[in-house]
């Protein structure tokens, strides 16, 4: 259903009509749909925040928090920042938006264990958002994959939110990583990607051609 909405909403957002507050209701419903069907549409969500910005009396904290949480599911993209830049400073200090901001801060600092602990204290915030935790785990795996060549499985398990040993094995095989006998997980051979670069000068043909031409 959310997928069908995507096209409808895209036409709503064309040209000047994007700023029509009458669309707000449809757009807010669309955010709920994104949450329950685990889809994501940044552009539509930003349009909502923009309508709130233009019409402060129409501001709704709950959809705003939802939009921010959905933005987190798209990490490592900086969608969260894009959303935050459109919300009035005073609104950022109100619940539940302020809670989401705290979670975001932990994720941006890669303090994953603290993030899961904070989430555990306040699980209600995720009500209605399907697949949120797994999206975050994907982000964790993204960061781990670029940082580590080998990581202790126990550590990985904690970073993924204290999941069971079997569950973490699933994530490991999903990314094609290998569990080793010494308790480490082999991620990838980083030596090939991360090596000392020597930059030597290259002169393009165009820049020499320009000189030759002017020397005629």
């Amino acid at each position: 259903m959310a997928e069908a909405m995507r096209a409808t909403v895209a036409t709503l957002l064309k040209g000047i009509d994007r700023y029509n507050p009458e669309n707000l209701h449809t757009l807010e419903r669309y955010v709920d749909m994104q949450a329950s069907e685990n889809t994501y549409d940044l552009e539509a969500n930003l349009a909502i925040l923009k309508l709130y910005q233009f019409n402060p009396s129409l501001y709704q904290p709950v959809p705003t928090a939802l939009i921010l949480l959905k933005a987190l599911t798209n990490l490592p993209h900086s969608d969260f920042i894009l959303c935050k830049c459109l919300i009035e400073t005073s609104r950022l200090n109100e619940e539940p938006v302020s809670k989401v901001l705290r979670l975001a801060n932990l994720l941006e600092r890669a303090s994953f264990q603290e993030f899961w602990a904070a989430l555990e204290e306040d699980p209600d915030i995720l009500i209605g958002i399907v697949g949120f935790e797994d999206s975050i785990r994907k982000f964790v795996c993204h960061v781990v994959a670029s940082t580590y060549q080998t990581i202790r499985k126990e550590k990985l398990r904690q970073l993924l939110g204290n999941i069971s040993d079997a569950h973490s094995s699933q994530w490991i095989s999903k990314y094609g990583w290998t569990e080793m006998l010494d308790g480490y997980v082999f991620i990838t051979n980083q030596e090939e990607n991360i090596k000392t670069k020597n930059i030597t000068e290259k002169i393009s043909f165009d820049s020499v051609a320009a000189i030759m031409a002017s020397g005629r």
Binding site: Y19, P76, I81, V144, Y148, S214
Partner: protein
Amino acid sequence: MSGAWASDIEPEYVPGYYGSYQDYDMSHTGDPRQDIEYERHYTTHSYIVPEVIKNFLIHFQKCINTKELAEIERSYDNGFNKLTERFFKNSAWPEADVVSPIVNHDKRFIILYKELYYRHVYARVSGGPSLAQRFESYYNYCALFNYILNAEGPVNLELPDQWLWDIIDEFIYQFQAFSIFRHKIANKTTEDEIELLKSNPKIWNVHSVLNVLHSLVEKSNINKQLEVYTSGGDPDSVAGEFGRNSLYKMLGYYSLVGLLRLHSLLGDYYQALKVLENIDFNKNSLYSKVPACQITKYYYVGFAYMMMRRYEDAIRTLSTILLYIQRTKTMFQNKTQLYDQISKMNDKMYTLLSICLVLYPMRIDESVHSHLREKYQDKMNRMQKGEKQEFETSFSFACPKFLSPVPPNYDSDGSVTMFKEPYQLQLLVFKEEVEQQILIPTIRSYLKLYTTMPISKLAAFMEMNEEELCTQLMCFKHKMKNLVWTKGPSCLEGEFQSASEVDFYIDKTMVHIADTKVARRYGDFFIRQFHKFDEIMRSLKSA
């Protein structure tokens, strides 16, 4: 406001350009101070316009009507400014109703004249524009855009590109100025003025401004034209009747840049970059003839990238334009106003570049780098050491003047600092980002010293436990892996890459480090000297 371009908008939205104008009558304010002002206006009717001004206006009118572009350009660029220096350095040009009989009541000319008149009031007249003048100028822009947009076919008018850009640029500038003005005056103005502001909510309303820009974009088919142009086709084939006309085409193009600016001022960086979707940044195009427009474009794109944590793209964008300014600066030296404007933007962009390079060190063009070293090394050192205050100072110097799209609550005594709210928000977002990565430069400086080192050793250097250090190292990776533009016209697209100077990975208990070694560059230096020499030779020959 009527006409096809507005008819598909909710009635509530249609800016009542003229609707509310009737009940706003300047002669009966009841306020003595304003009535005196009115009197003064009135007496200017007897002001005798010097012969030289008269002749200038008649000539100006004539070349606009006969569409002699070169002559219009000369009058616009040179004539008007020279006479300003001579007669109206700090005072306004003659009022439109004084000018009107001189030019035979040519309505179109008067609209164009008033465009220059109010722009001059904003820029030069001491005390700045009054509330009435701000309103009048707005109505005049409406009249101008109505004339252009509501015509059945393309209007019979040609204006130099520079002027067309200035119209869009000034229109947004005045909107920006008004938004700040209405927040600032709430406490120190007369009740009548507040009444006037309250009863005219549609004047300089954000919807009206957006509406104008969108309409110009649509009327000119500029997006389709650019799409075809980028893929190597003939833009005229999709331009349509209006878009083929240079006036509409260029106004459409400049409106895209105007929207980039407007969205950025509202903190909407996604839309800001999105409107440029069809403009190919990496191609020098026939649309890029006006330097001020180019600089505006690169500044806002660079800024948006920085906010979006796309440092590599920000650095590339900013250094491209800084190099361009460096090479063309001498061209503007005899145009004082433009030169000042460009110098100011230049400083702002170097400051942005220095912020980005502290957060994301990478190699940039040698000549831009050497200027940076000369002028910004101290600031950069302070930021590198983690001085948050320096980040804040640099940001506030280099950022655009953010604005609020909604009017203040005129009834509450509201704090005077309300107009700073939009700036505070952007600063907050920026500061939180910096805060999250404040330790990265220090970690990088240690990594640079080794090719491998145990985690425990680095942790000891950083005075934290190993667990915390690993978190910091992951944060390092997360922040340094940016979305980077690789191909295609849309500057929103990109791939995750990391080109920053120092990279590393963790294997069990060891950190393995990869540095970037740069060989000295000679070719670049020689090529630049060749060009410089060539330029000197050419200017000697032409002298």
